[in-house]
């Protein structure tokens, strides 16, 4: 659209007068046609997006439990059309974003649709990431259960790239209301229709009556692999258990306004937004690099 606008002004300046109206008229028609085509592309893109992308990125691309907000204007894997095209078609290795066997024309309509979306206005992050980091490792105790770049607990999800993979609104919900949408665990690449386990609360009762509470890393009809709240790994057969109970609630405490004031929450979110899986070397307590050969195979 903006290309046509510039072009029409250039023509007006050069020729002026009567011809201006004629040219403007035809150019406006072209622009309208282009706008109609663009609108059609956006509409089709919305449809393709809903069918293929919304299960992870949400029906309106505002982010879901598995995929980031695509309206934030921040593109971890490149913001150009070519980069977004590549991300959609090839996926992002090492993340939950798969390659998609869509036709090029379909991907272009998705990109048109994404460009048509405006970022949510009420979610601008005003906090200080450095202060947020202090809260993460200090007052809020997040690192007791969550790992970032190799440091922290193992009960909750690794947050090393949570800023790239989750929307701000999702992060806020996860802190204020952790039961609202439980995070997903490991997926089975061999089970096309399977659903991952979620970080719900699992309680096991052993034959002697002792209880274990924690998060199931995996489970099937015959066995369960559990990390208990003391962060120990237990591998158990169900025949040795009296009971296995799932409660659809997170083991993570809800951080209310009393526990975490809004400015603190903003700082924490600002810190989490910086976690994009790219900065392991900057972690302060990282073990020193002991060298070694890169040729070792």
């Amino acid at each position: 659209m903006h290309i046509f606008k510039s072009l029409s002004w250039a023509i007006v300046l050069r020729f002026g007068g009567v011809i201006t109206g004629l040219l403007c008229s035809s150019l406006l028609q072209a622009a309208e046609k282009t706008a109609a085509e663009k609108s059609a592309a956006v509409k089709e893109g919305a449809s393709v997006f809903r069918a293929n992308c919304s299960p992870c990125h949400g029906l309106n691309a505002r982010g879901g439990g598995r995929g980031p907000d695509l309206t934030s204007g921040r593109w971890t894997h490149g913001s150009s059309d070519a980069a977004i095209f590549r991300t959609i078609s090839q996926g992002v290795p090492g993340t939950e974003m798969p390659a998609n066997a869509l036709e090029a024309s379909e991907i272009r309509t998705i990109i048109s649709y994404l460009h048509s979306l405006s970022p949510p206005k009420n979610l601008v992050v005003m906090g200080d990431p450095a202060k947020g980091r202090e809260i993460f490792y200090g007052k809020a105790g997040c690192a007791d259960c969550h790992m970032v770049a190799g440091h922290g607990g193992v009960l909750g999800p690794d947050l090393s790239r949570v800023g790239a993979s989750r929307s701000v609104s999702y992060l806020i919900d996860s802190i204020r209301e952790p039961n609202k949408d439980l995070s997903s665990g490991m997926t089975d690449p061999n089970n096309h229709y399977g659903l991952p386990l979620v970080y719900d609360t699992v309680t096991l009762v052993k034959a002697d009556g002792t209880k274990l509470t924690g998060v199931a890393k995996n489970e099937d009809t015959y066995s369960v692999q559990l990390i208990s709240t003391d962060q120990k790994l237990h591998v158990l057969l169900k025949r040795d258990l009296k009971e296995v109970t799932h409660e659809h609630r997170s083991l993570m405490p809800a951080y209310s306004e009393d526990a975490l004031h809004s400015p603190e929450l903003a700082h924490l979110i600002a810190y989490l937004e910086t976690l994009r899986g790219e900065d392991r070397a900057s972690m302060p307590s990282r073990e020193p690099n002991t060298g070694g050969t890169k040729e070792a195979k």
Binding site: A51, N190, N191
Partner: protein
């Protein structure tokens, strides 16, 4: 004179043993050492009279061999076994013959597929059919091919439809007389469904039944405007056959787009139907539609089970189907008359099936832009994976899922070769779906026992005269259960989701049970 005839007769006998004749297919139940059709016999029972493995010794089952097909993915084949040789298909249209005692390959076939294919649900193939010395395979690029049983060489190869418009085959063919019968896939792409029969000798097409009626044909009025042209109604699971009635029973899938009905007003025949087709001509004898004007992707593509039983005091030829929409139906298979329907799990889309066989749709389900929760979900209370019927118990063994889904719905323009869903569904975010293998009274639908699975299944059931039911889980466990009680007898973890159903066969006096999982085909027998 007699002396001269005897060697000749023996020679004929030896030849007939080498070939799978129509007589052998009709009498498949009499040679339990083999597995001659997709469901084991024309009745669709997936039941064997082999009885070496019984509840008291099933714990001694041990792996005998493994065959690696070459590709990971959804290994959905039901192999055939003929006189010690096992024939199967794999992902990406592979086929193979292996020594059924050792698992050693005799030949492998790999179809050269075009780059751009549109199977909705994986590059899968569900198996072969056999007649004479020919195997028949329906391919992802919408061809039907005949392979030589000894070499895997291609004997003929015919095009059924245009794969560029998303027509594709995943089905295992059914051989009836001299016909190779196949049904098309592509309901997620707005194909116009069909069931074809090809001449087993030449590959020439003998008949086609279009599952969406064209202009002037009965049923055409059940489609608004031109919606019939892209109406779907695929036919992607293998049917069954009654030789006395000379009828082929073939189920059909969803109308397209699957989740938006606003532009295809009407019942949308013959989507989600059971079709009874004259085996010689493909003409429609009768139909029964389970889910008219479907909005939830309730393909009726579940194996029709053929039973002869007493019904209301008189012997009757019945057809039983545990339908994806959550109801177990009993029909009279001579004329399609509806006899009964009973839900076998949680169903919210309909409150009941009326006396006329039509669903009483739940009027309280309102479309919500954020999704409407409907049970069963789009993958159904059960699905394409095979059920099994045991005449010993009278039970129908059905793998079931508890998944309910949030359905959204919106118009979608049709583009040839592109998905055509009318929006999307997502699983209930609160209740993680589980599954169960259920034993249902085949006639009343009453649940006799239920063995719980941790996850919702993708694999079906096999029952045997030994009183054992074999089933595969999507968490990779292959399980043996007591057919009468559901008691857990034995299991083994195969390391990948099971997307198929076991078969059983016998070689050298030893009963084997074989099941595909991941890239491997695994065979078990008693230690």
């Amino acid at each position: 004179m007699k002396g001269a005839l005897l060697p000749a007769l023996l020679f004929v006998t030896a030849l007939s043993q080498a070939q799978v004749t129509n007589e052998r297919l009709l009498g498949a139940a009499n040679e339990p050492q083999n597995w001659l059709t997709y469901s084991g016999r024309y009745t669709g029972w997936r039941y064997s009279t082999l009885d070496q493995i019984i509840p008291t010794n099933a714990s001694r089952l041990a792996m005998q061999w493994t065959f690696q097909v070459g590709d990971l993915g959804q290994f959905e084949t039901t192999p055939l076994v003929v006189d010690g040789v096992l024939y199967g298909t794999g992902q990406n249209d592979r086929a193979f013959a292996i020594d059924a005692r050792t698992g050693r390959p005799i030949w492998r076939y790999q179809r050269s597929l075009p780059e751009k294919l549109q199977p909705c649900c994986g590059m899968v193939n569900r198996g072969l059919a056999i007649l004479g010395e020919r195997l028949f395979m329906a391919t992802l690029d919408a061809h039907v091919v005949a392979l030589d049983t000894k070499s895997g060489n291609v004997l003929w190869d015919v095009t059924a439809a245009d794969y560029r418009k998303a027509y594709t085959f995943t089905v295992a063919p059914l051989v009836v007389k001299n016909e190779v019968i196949v049904g098309i896939s592509g309901g997620e792409y707005g194909v116009r469904g069909f069931i074809d029969a090809y001449d087993a000798a030449t590959g020439g097409r003998l008949w086609r039944f279009e599952t969406v009626p064209g202009l002037g044909e009965p049923g055409h009025e059940t489609w608004k405007g031109d919606s019939w042209k892209t109406g779907g109604a695929p036919a992607w699971i293998t049917g069954t056959y009654d030789p006395e009635l000379n009828l082929v029973y073939w189920p059909t899938g969803n109308p397209a787009p699957s989740n938006f009905g606003g532009e295809r007003g009407g019942d949308n025949l013959y989507s989600n139907c059971m079709l009874a087709l004259d085996a010689d001509t493909g003409k429609l004898k009768w139909y029964f539609q389970f889910t008219p004007h479907d909005l939830y992707d309730y393909d009726a593509t579940q194996i029709p089970i053929l039973l002869d039983a007493q019904w209301e005091g008189r012997p009757r030829k019945l057809l039983v189907q545990a339908n994806r929409n959550g109801f177990l139906y009993v029909l009279d298979r001579t004329d399609g008359k509806f006899l009964s329907a009973k839900s076998f799990g949680k169903v919210t889309w309909a409150t009941e099936i009326g006396a006329d066989g039509k669903p009483v749709v739940n009027a309280n389900l309102k479309t919500d832009p954020q999704g409407t929760l409907v049970c069963p979900g789009a993958l159904g209370l059960t699905n394409w994976y095979a059920p099994s019927y045991s005449p010993d118990t009278g039970f129908l063994y059905v793998a079931t899922s508890t998944e309910c889904d949030l359905f959204t719905s919106s118009p979608q323009p049709y583009r040839a070769g592109h998905d055509f869903l009318g929006s999307v569904y997502v699983p209930d975010p609160v209740e993680r779906p589980t599954g169960a293998l259920k034993a249902l009274d085949a006639l009343s639908g009453a649940e006799r026992w239920s063995f719980p699975y941790f996850s919702n299944p993708n694999g079906g059931a096999l029952s045997t005269a030994g009183g054992v039911v074999f089933a595969g889980e999507s968490d990779g466990n292959f399980i043996a259960l007591d057919a009468k009680t559901g008691h857990d007898l034995w299991h083994v973890q195969l390391g990948a989701a099971i997307y198929s159903t076991a078969i059983t066969f016998q070689v050298d006096g030893k009963q084997y049970v074989a099941i595909p999982a991941g890239a491997g085909l695994f065979a078990f027998a008693l230690q």
